[in-house]
Symmetry: C2
């Protein structure tokens, strides 16, 4: 049973002003919940149906049982999916060192679905962090969280001033551009940074001039560009090869 105040509070996560400012974010569905419970993220509160609870070895202390129609009311999805949790956001102020790893940098990715898919793709290819510009969509946007399919719990997403971050590092800075070296012929170093630009404007100055290795996915047809998440996936597949 959920009370009126809780109901109102959770429903307000539909509005950006709310989800952006709150110290928790929403995760839904049994699959994501399972990954959440196995992680070090702190669950502040969860609402689950009887069915979900009966499938657990014991009822976790943070779970309130709700009826299906109650879950539907608080869900951000078209229909509730067994369980919804409020998870404490992690405060990450400092990116992990760029040296010794592959890091993805996102310069102004706007579409929440694209960002979520990029986080999921980075997770598939074993990257442990993504650094994003302040104007990139928020990783706590409910649409982003949902489209990461749980990867938000594993890939650290940090907001930083991208030009400042890379201006003095001595590793390759790859940038996905329309006229660069073909990723089919270039050897991508395992220690480096890959910059993906905004969906329509690409990588912006002054970041663009800090790219040491502009790279391109060869085109064989007539489309003007590739979707940002698809382009990221193709380059990461080549990078990890």
């Amino acid at each position: 049973m959920i009370n009126k105040n809780e109901l109102k509070y959770i429903q307000s996560f539909a509005h950006k002003k709310h989800w952006a400012e709150e110290s928790v974010f929403i995760i839904e569905g049994p699959k994501m919940m399972e990954e959440l419970m196995a992680s070090d993220w702190v669950i502040r509160q969860a609402y689950a149906t009887k069915d979900w609870i009966q499938n657990q070895p014991f009822k976790p202390h943070y779970v309130t049982e709700v009826a299906d129609f109650e879950l539907d009311k608080i869900s951000q999805l078209q229909k509730g999916n067994q369980v919804l949790a409020l998870v404490e956001k992690k405060q990450v102020n400092e990116p992990l060192p760029l040296k010794g790893r592959m890091t993805l940098l996102l310069d102004g990715i706007q579409d929440p679905g694209n960002l979520g898919t990029i986080i999921r793709t980075a997770d598939w290819f074993g990257l442990d962090q993504i650094v994003v510009s302040a104007d990139t969509a928020s990783c706590f946007n409910p649409k982003v969280v949902q489209s990461t399919m749980g990867s938000i719990l594993r890939v650290q997403v940090v907001v930083a001033d991208l030009p400042e971050l890379i201006q003095s590092v001595r590793i390759p800075i790859y940038g996905a551009v329309l006229e660069g070296k073909s990723i089919q012929t270039i050897d991508l170093a395992k220690e480096g940074v890959l910059v993906i630009g905004n969906e329509s404007r690409g990588i912006r100055q002054p970041l663009l001039s800090l790219i040491t290795d502009p790279i391109t996915i060869p085109r064989y047809g007539t489309a003007e560009s590739l979707n940002a998440a698809v382009a990221t996936g193709i380059i990461l597949a080549k990078w990890q090869h």
Copy 2:
């Protein structure tokens, strides 16, 4: 100036019953319009703002000038974007021969954004047709059309019975599955078929048993799966290499 009947007619394209049954589909924005006008697709009617018309060498006969607020009213986007056209659907009953080309087969792709992005990606890699199962999202869904970014005008999308289509062809049938040969080690033949399955169920029987070469994108991290459009992009990039 647009009249009440036209207004009502175009607005009804927001509903599936309408866009699925009508003989025309909607394309929006100056970029897609430019590609449309350079193509062999038949434009039945278009509505454009004064600004758009003034940028043309002459006003095409099928264009009605409308005010910005009128375009906003008929647009499927959040806000009108200079021009909206009603384009006649092409009736394609027969796929192009599978021999001598690379063909993409989609088995039950549900998400309109995924389908649109897949069409755009296929266009980038030079494929001229995609054959889809009857339960795949419709390529004339306004969300699909928009996310193809114009590629819908160049890549032929045909609905067919997929098992029947491939059961007697003598070319490789690649299928993207979780446990197949790594695309990094296998040599993909330029004449062949690539099957991409549904977002959650993958490739279904009896299609699955017709796959001659199950292939996989190697995983380096912990995500359970890749987005269908991202996976398609990664395999097409390797196929065209």
